[in-house]
């Protein structure tokens, strides 16, 4: 009996390795991950620094989030049910995502992304997130995102968030104030030497929060917390606060670990290309959903 238990235990362990392989440890060419440094202790965290290029510490697939925000995937589990207001739930049901519990065939989706509409923030980090580069200047933190080569500016010059997204009060020298933005308005500050917190508002409500169709209103406020853990790591937490659509704030990314890459690491390119999407729809998505002809 003991031998059978041992054999079974070995089988279970082997299977868990298989599972890991199936789930896919994805290595971006040239990137390094924690698995490459097992047994080595990182040095101390530098003070007030997030500079550098960051990749998911545990493999490139960590940021995919096909079924929705990593900490709250749309999988039908009660603990992942979001605290919708009636308006928020209606907005969620009006969305037709291609993943998650309300998924439809991609030919029938109303997801703005496949057509290459702006992904916006925070979806850029809650779906299909990839390598990010942080550039720190005295008055701002700039984050460069791989997907579609987008960037955000988080002002650190002491300005406040606009009180009304439609009248931001950020206009320079009398220029008319911009309206709500795909990427919102962001300010940030160091809470201590190793914790940077950014707040954002003023979002265009046409974007989705994630790939599972989670909605947000124009009242969305996003809090990003970056904690510099040591010389090689930082953690990112994203909190969604949207009182029109959710009865309480909820955590969409929970201390997701990133690893600092070598200075010469070149971020790969990944673009949403409308003509490529059109060809994909014609050749695959439409016939797969019974729209259009057979395979061409």
């Amino acid at each position: 009996m003991t031998r059978r238990v041992v054999v079974l235990a070995i089988a279970v362990m082997a299977f868990s390795d298989l599972t890991r392989a199936q789930l896919g440890f994805r290595r971006t060419p040239g990137a390094v991950y924690d698995v490459d440094f097992e047994g080595r202790k990182p040095g101390p965290a530098p003070r007030r620094s997030l500079s550098g290029t960051w990749e998911f510490a545990n493999g490139g697939a960590e940021g995919i989030q096909a079924d929705g925000a990593k900490a709250m995937p749309s999988d039908g589990r009660p603990e992942h049910e979001l605290p919708y207001t009636p308006e928020g739930r209606q907005a969620f049901m009006d969305h037709k995502p291609t993943y998650g519990i309300t998924q439809v065939p991609s030919a029938l989706t109303n997801d703005p992304m496949p057509g290459c509409d702006p992904q916006g923030f925070p979806r850029i980090v809650l779906h299909n997130a990839h390598t990010e580069e942080f550039l720190q200047a005295p008055d701002k933190l700039v984050i460069l995102y791989q997907f579609n080569k987008k960037w955000r500016v988080i002002w650190t010059d002491g300005r406040a968030l606009p009180l009304d997204p439609e009248v931001p009060g950020w206009a320079i020298k009398g220029a008319p104030p911009p309206e709500s933005r795909w990427w919102g308005y962001s300010v940030g500050r160091w809470m201590d030497d190793y914790t940077f917190v950014a707040e954002s508002n003023g979002f265009d409500d046409r974007t989705w929060l994630d790939n599972a169709g989670r909605p947000h209103s124009d009242a969305l406020r996003v809090v990003e917390t970056y904690r510099r853990v040591d010389a090689d790591h930082m953690e990112k937490t994203i909190t969604i606060d949207d009182p029109k659509y959710y009865t309480r704030p909820w955590v969409a990314l929970d201390r997701l670990s990133y690893r600092l890459q070598a200075p010469g690491f070149d971020i790969p390119e990944q673009e949403c290309v409308p003509s490529e999407t059109a060809k994909y729809n014609e050749l695959f998505a439409n016939p797969a959903a019974g729209v259009g002809d057979t395979a061409k």
Partner: protein, 137 residues
Amino acid sequence: MRRLLVMIGASVIALPLMLQAHHANAVFDVGKRITLTGTVTEWFWANPHCLLRLDVKDAGGQSVRWVGETQAPPNMIPFGWSKQSFKAGDEVTVILEPVKNGQRLGRLLQAVLPDGKTLIAGASAAAVVGTPGGTLP
């Protein structure tokens, strides 16, 4: 002890099924596999998905077109796929997870190239990774 063994056994059986179900897409006949041998007519290396167009002889000897999709290039490169993986005229054998509606379409899980090299669609076999370009199926 017997109960423990049963529980372990059940978990071993159930886990892959859970993985499959979790990542199912609406259009695919999840878990079904078909193997095809044919001639590549195009390898479309693109977002949101790459497409492999393939002419396959049916039972009557007629050539019919099949299309297999993979995830986008950044999600395939780590598993050894590239823009040069296929060229028109290549004879390849592929395993597809077909769509439900009977169209000659499927998710490309594996391809055996003319030189015998096998490409595996990495995570996508069970965990459908993402979607650059958009969401995707």
